[in-house]
């Protein structure tokens, strides 16, 4: 596992993975979309239940991507692995995109069902804080010219943001929220009917594979970018 921390070995080992993940995510997205629109409308929510099939995966991946960012930040900070730093950086933008999608699609579901686009309840607010952590991480990285210093400062922020993950997850249990409690991952099993569970799980797997493909592709691009910079510096020295 630690052998993969070597960028050269990482590039060799992961070379065949992105095309596989792109293919898997494309197939799962197609199947998930078909299942989402083949399912009947919910007896209470009507057709707005179909928003759940893009909202829940986006929210889940927003959290998962931040976990990846936080753990990578830990390794970058403690072991000073450049690969871990690249992994943290590569998780930020797709994670922010997933979180933004969760917020917007949540509002699009909330308006017809709750009668409001937004409420300052614990779940919605903590997801907004998660989005702000992503923005802060990216802003901090780009605001410092020295890449190593930028990486370290951003890694500290990335680690601090990990505290927010259990708050997001358990906010619906710890506080009274308008947002409904967990219906998928909860004690006693899921409360979802199989007719909705199939499209939801398929879309979650599709989003997961898509994130994997984007993350790996971006890490690999980041490694190549750093090589380009090294090469440019050497060529400039010799010129």
């Amino acid at each position: 596992m630690f052998g993969l921390a070597n960028p050269e070995r990482f590039m060799r080992f992961t070379a065949p993975l992105p095309p596989v993940l792109w293919g898997v995510s494309a197939v799962l997205l197609a199947v998930g979309t078909w299942l989402s629109f083949a399912a009947p409308g919910d007896y209470q929510q009507g057709d707005t239940v179909r928003i759940m099939f893009v909202h829940v995966p986006a929210a889940t991946l927003g959290l998962a991507a931040y976990a990846a960012l936080g753990v990578s930040s830990f390794f970058a900070l403690v072991f000073r692995h450049s690969l871990a730093d690249a992994a943290a950086r590569a998780a930020a933008l797709p994670g922010a995109a997933f979180t933004a999608l969760a917020l917007v699609t949540g509002g699009l579901w909330g308006q017809p069902m709750w009668g409001t686009w937004w409420v300052w309840d614990a779940r919605l607010t903590s997801v907004l804080v998660l989005f702000l952590f992503y923005l802060g991480y990216m802003a901090l990285r780009s605001s410092i010219d020295d890449e190593q210093k930028a990486g370290r400062a951003a890694a500290v922020l990335g680690l601090v943001g990990l505290i927010n993950l259990p708050i997001v997850k358990f906010s619906v249990d710890w506080w009274n929220t308008l947002h409904q409690p967990a219906s998928l991952l909860r004690a006693g099993g899921t409360s979802l009917d199989p007719v909705f569970l199939a499209p939801l799980l398929t879309m979650m797997a599709a989003y997961g594979a898509l994130f994997g493909a984007v993350w790996l592709t971006t890490i690999r691009a980041e490694i190549v970018r750093r090589r380009v910079q090294t090469l440019r510096a050497r060529l400039a020295l010799e010129a």
């Binding site: 083949a38 707005t48 060529l235």
Partner: protein, 64 residues
């Protein structure tokens, strides 16, 4: 059979799916284009460095 009649919630369901497709498409495009851009740039520098072998020996060694 697909049910594409979202009424009376079409104004909420389609934007949610459309926006998701747009954002995911943008994230994928950015990742792929960025990877392609840096690969092309590395190849260009490699070609440059072939004219000055001793200058770039170390960097070329790293990428193989």
């Amino acid at each position: 059979m697909l049910d594409l009649d979202m009424s009376p919630y079409a104004a909420f369901v389609w934007p949610a799916w459309g926006l998701s497709a747009l954002v995911l498409g943008a994230v994928v495009a950015r990742a792929v284009l960025s990877a392609r851009r840096w690969k092309t740039e590395l190849r260009r520098l490699e070609e440059d460095s072939e004219r000055r072998p001793q200058a770039t020996q170390g960097a070329l060694g790293q990428q193989r």
